[in-house]
Symmetry: C2
Subunit: 371 residues, 2 copies
Amino acid sequence: MSDTTDDPRLTALVRSLPSTVPFVAPETLEAQRGAPFDARLGANELSYGPAPAAVAAMKAAVGGIWKYGMADNAPLARALSEHYGIDHAHFTIGEGIDGLLGNLVRLFVERGDAVVTSAGSYPTFNYHVAGFGGTIHAVPYRDLLEDPDALIAKARETGAKLVYISNPNNPMGGAHSATRIEAMIEALPDGCLMVLDEAYTEFADAATRPALEPMDPRVIRFRTFSKAYGMAGARVAYGITHPEIAAAFDRVRNHFGVNRIAVAGAVASLAEQDRLADIVARIKAGREELAEIAKAHGLSPRPSQTNFVAMDTHRDGAFARALVAELDRRGVFIRMPGVAPLNSHIRVSVGTPEEIAIFASRLGPALNAIG
Amino acid sequence: MSDTTDDPRLTALVRSLPSTVPFVAPETLEAQRGAPFDARLGANELSYGPAPAAVAAMKAAVGGIWKYGMADNAPLARALSEHYGIDHAHFTIGEGIDGLLGNLVRLFVERGDAVVTSAGSYPTFNYHVAGFGGTIHAVPYRDLLEDPDALIAKARETGAKLVYISNPNNPMGGAHSATRIEAMIEALPDGCLMVLDEAYTEFADAATRPALEPMDPRVIRFRTFSKAYGMAGARVAYGITHPEIAAAFDRVRNHFGVNRIAVAGAVASLAEQDRLADIVARIKAGREELAEIAKAHGLSPRPSQTNFVAMDTHRDGAFARALVAELDRRGVFIRMPGVAPLNSHIRVSVGTPEEIAIFASRLGPALNAIG
């Protein structure tokens, strides 16, 4: 057994899979470069952190960590139910959207089943599809956004079980209108479930959010405490969908997989809507500031409905990659889209004003250094 | 779509699965009975809680929860590597042993593959095997312990991909000697991986622990921070195995699934070996006390190498079930094995001295009440 690929005990599917990590974590990069970043603007985290009340709730929950949580994460299910005004049976709670996507694919995708997404969209979704033997059919972005018409056409053509779209979009930052997304739902072919990833929706204008139709079995919407609520390391997110789809997760998931402190923090976060509004205002101001910084350096910022700004270098992917590497050397962590034509851009998270100032001061020298 | 079973979009396998929760959580039971338990002795939690240093480390980690963790949970991988004196590549870290078991089954079990365990052993393992379409072959306990000979014979007969054994055993509390487990490993048929669940090993005599042979590709050992380290709600556990098997987990797992605060707490816990020794001494004393209480009420305690004591009622499963229900009514949460002949027993966790005193005072009245 010189390589797991050769271990005949593994399933045929697993033997065919690469060993991969969809993302290299910021602290892993810091370990590689041997020093912390001065500005951590690559993972779309909320540098402001969670609400003070959520911090307090999590600290208060530490002492009770010897207790198992609840399979249904009842305190959070109840809080979500009250927040949205819909029954708790519409929610499935899991270890981040990543964990929920894995279970979702497991529920719907058999080996060889078609799944549709966009070239350059969320790679962890593709990772899970490959992990269950599905076949990804990727359509191109259109005008630097995922293209509902192309996604639907491809889903129809391939008989897809799932079609994925993020709104707002990661990594480009823009968003479709609610009516555009609603039209996409109406156009879904029979037998295809729409996966609407709304990880960044709290940062977006209300006009980008389709009305909540939680009895609609055609769509599952994913939201998270990792972004606007500042709890990326906690691993807690949720799907909103038809109760029968939510119940299907209970057939396969790790029922006690969500950390108890995370649940306490999420419940407290959800109660702090004034704080959320304040954070969103700060992020919007930061977006504007980043856009100005981009323009001042000859880059073109994309309109953003998220906590990051994509900036077109007007060069190729190799140039953008060199810029990311040069900023890394100068203590600034950013990322970039992985696929052409998106990869002429860099992607910069809206950090604190201090982090934005660091980015502003180092972008020019970095551009000069790589020519 | 009146029932998810009928949703034709779900995979054929998922349509065949029941909606189930392997365990009902203590707080879910409390919600059902409308009041908290006075003694929480049913989930084999550590009522003493984690080490004070671990509590402090978790509280200190709350402020940084806005950051994503690391895919390899590097701080914990490093701490485990130092603790055991073996390379970090031997470890796979996950969201509790439950989460690790799910991924393990996914790696090795295809639809229809045989998997061997014992009737009455850990149900969450069976849940995951069913969830990936494997076929469980269960052999009986022998002398109220899992039977290595029968397990091996059944694995050989069925061509099993996995054979599961817990040592010490849950729910009966006893343990085989290290030499008996080592002989079982030597007897494994080709192509069969042994799943050695050591969730309770820190409470057990050293003579029950096989030598660490981390280059042996025939076995994976699971240990957890849920039991002796008092962090059940944190969801952090690890497998120790051949590096190629550990690496295989990276092909399918939710890389960022473990909570950052949990990692900080686990690292701090591992450093507190004196505290662990103190806890183990307290648990041993509590075991003795529970055994005396059992005897004083005409029950027969099983020898225990864990933080719980199984007590034979010398009656049938219905009687034991009635006793569990009667104690529940009296504010004492315990559990019992689910399968005959184990189910003449009740299973009582070693709580604090106060909880044990509550159990002692209510056991007699409960027995009288049910006759």
